[in-house]
Symmetry: C2
Subunit: 112 residues, 2 copies
């Protein structure tokens, strides 16, 4: 049943996915476990502070697991939890729609 009130459940999902880099982080994690420095290498323009912040939020929501190895120098691994994997169909659909949208923009540009 779809809502008539303010607390539309889809908004909860949006709130969790919102964040400039979160989808991209999740996308990279689909390819396997990553270390902190992997992200900064993979994603130019992403600073340590923001990366930390977004990873912490993903962890807080249970989408990402943070595994700390007590070694020197420090080693921390990030991976998708099963719960995080449950977002994969949604991510794929968002990706698909986004691709179509980009095509659409190109067409209207071509015509206009």
């Amino acid at each position: 049943m779809r809502p008539t009130s303010c607390d539309y459940a889809a908004n909860v999902t949006l709130g969790i996915l919102e964040g400039k880099w979160k989808l991209l982080l999740l996308c990279h994690l689909r390819n396997g476990t990553k270390r902190f420095c992997d992200f900064t290498a993979l994603i130019p323009g992403l600073t340590q502070k923001v990366l930390t912040y977004q990873l912490r939020e993903l962890e807080t929501h249970g989408l990402v697991r943070r595994q700390i190895y007590p070694v020197i120098p420090p080693k921390v691994e990030y991976s998708l939890t099963p719960y995080g994997e449950s977002l994969i169909p949604l991510m794929d659909l968002m990706n698909l729609w986004g691709e179509k949208h980009k095509e659409r923009l190109l067409e209207s540009e071509h015509i206009g």
Copy 2:
């Protein structure tokens, strides 16, 4: 093929859906054409300025059609475009995941 670079298409979709009230507006439009004042009545806490802003963005992206009737007092109707309707499967999936997430939160609350 999933991206390794920064321009992840899912982010495009996110950018279009981002906005505190957009999903809710789209959701209401699924039930049929709405007038400006319908939204303010349906959604407590939503001011005219913000409503205007978000509707204009949805219109700009081609998701919503704005039909102006040149009468006094003014009458403006908003409806989903076919392109906007193409988002329905995505909205449903987001809603579904959001519902599951809320259940999950209740459970962990119950346990903790």
